[in-house]
Symmetry: C2
Subunit: 200 residues, 2 copies
């Protein structure tokens, strides 16, 4: 009699400006046996981003090919650019027994839940919408109109919080605590009865 | 917008011989803000046990009074002796905002679930039934017939594992890991969406 739980599909989502990227980087730095999915996108690479690490940056033509050939588990048009989750990466990592961590927007997380009812959906948020706004403003790349659009989206996303499994607040200056909580969630989920491959 | 989760009622259960007592003692030693419920029992105090710490040792008459006055959330006759969970302790601790940890047998855990659907049920087991048997045998107090009875009960209890929320295996020599897992479960449960007092 041994518990042997299925590998987990962990979806980290939440409004833009909640700090998803920083949290995932800090989680990666812990060196756990987790596969972090690299998303494909058609948007322009920011100066601090690395191809194949932060994203796969692909042309619009290539992206639409991926859609046509069903190579994406989930994709969305976000602020006029495509973002999508490559199916093969997820399937292969889960098959090898590894937990998989995905970063998607709220709309994408809810779409994933339909395909993978067993996914663990974590809603990451800043302490409040004001802080979300501050974080968005501090990215000098935002135009005022885009900023407003992002804030409207953040409000819509908050309304869908209850469809998630967990809510983790990423408090300013407490990144380590946020990551600890996510690791606790992963550890706990592996012990959930409904995730055991076989029961005695 | 702040997550504010309800205090948890955490039920640690599992077959006799799984190491519930050691696990709870080690959990207590971590000094977390948790109320550990002291069970009332009519059985004889073992030499290493302390009144009011390990159990409240009460007479059969007093226990039946407690039953009659509805002072117990749950009680059972175990191996010919009463064991029960004092209601006031649990209600007061939860009302003060503290998490509450209870130790009950499997039958009791399933009964508690009916009264407290939101309780977190953790099934603690040894690695296998052989080890359960070894642990029971190492308690020199067991008669052969009682040992067999306990093993039969352990088998029945294992069949009810799937009615729990979590399964934690208390591996020999890895008590700290067992406690870490339980703490992770408590931490994760506080972040579950369904436990939030209010959502935005």
């Amino acid at each position: 009699m041994h518990p042997s739980s299925q590998p987990l599909l962990i979806v980290i989502s939440g409004p833009s400006g909640a700090g998803k990227d920083s949290v995932i980087k800090a989680l990666q730095a812990r060196g756990l046996p987790i596969h972090f999915v690299v998303t494909a996108t058609t948007r322009a690479k920011r100066s601090n981003e690395v191809e194949g690490v932060d994203y796969f940056f692909v042309t619009r033509q290539r992206f639409e090919e991926m859609i046509a050939q069903d190579e994406l588990i989930e994709y969305a048009m976000v602020y006029g650019e495509y973002k999508g989750v490559p199916r093969r990466q997820v399937v292969e990592a889960l098959a090898s027994g590894k937990d998989v961590v995905l970063r998607v927007d709220v709309q994408g997380a809810l779409a994933l839940r339909k395909q993978f009812p067993q996914a663990v959906l974590i809603f990451l948020s800043a302490e409040d919408l004001d802080e979300t706004a501050q974080r968005l403003e501090s990215r000098s790349t935002e135009e005022e109109e885009e900023l407003r659009r992002r804030l409207d989206t953040a409000k819509w996303e908050l309304e869908h919080l209850w469809e998630f499994d967990y809510w983790v607040v990423n408090r300013r200056g407490q990144l380590d605590q946020t990551v600890d909580t996510i690791i606790a969630i992963i550890q706990a989920e592996h012990h959930r009865i409904c995730r055991q491959r076989s029961l005695p």
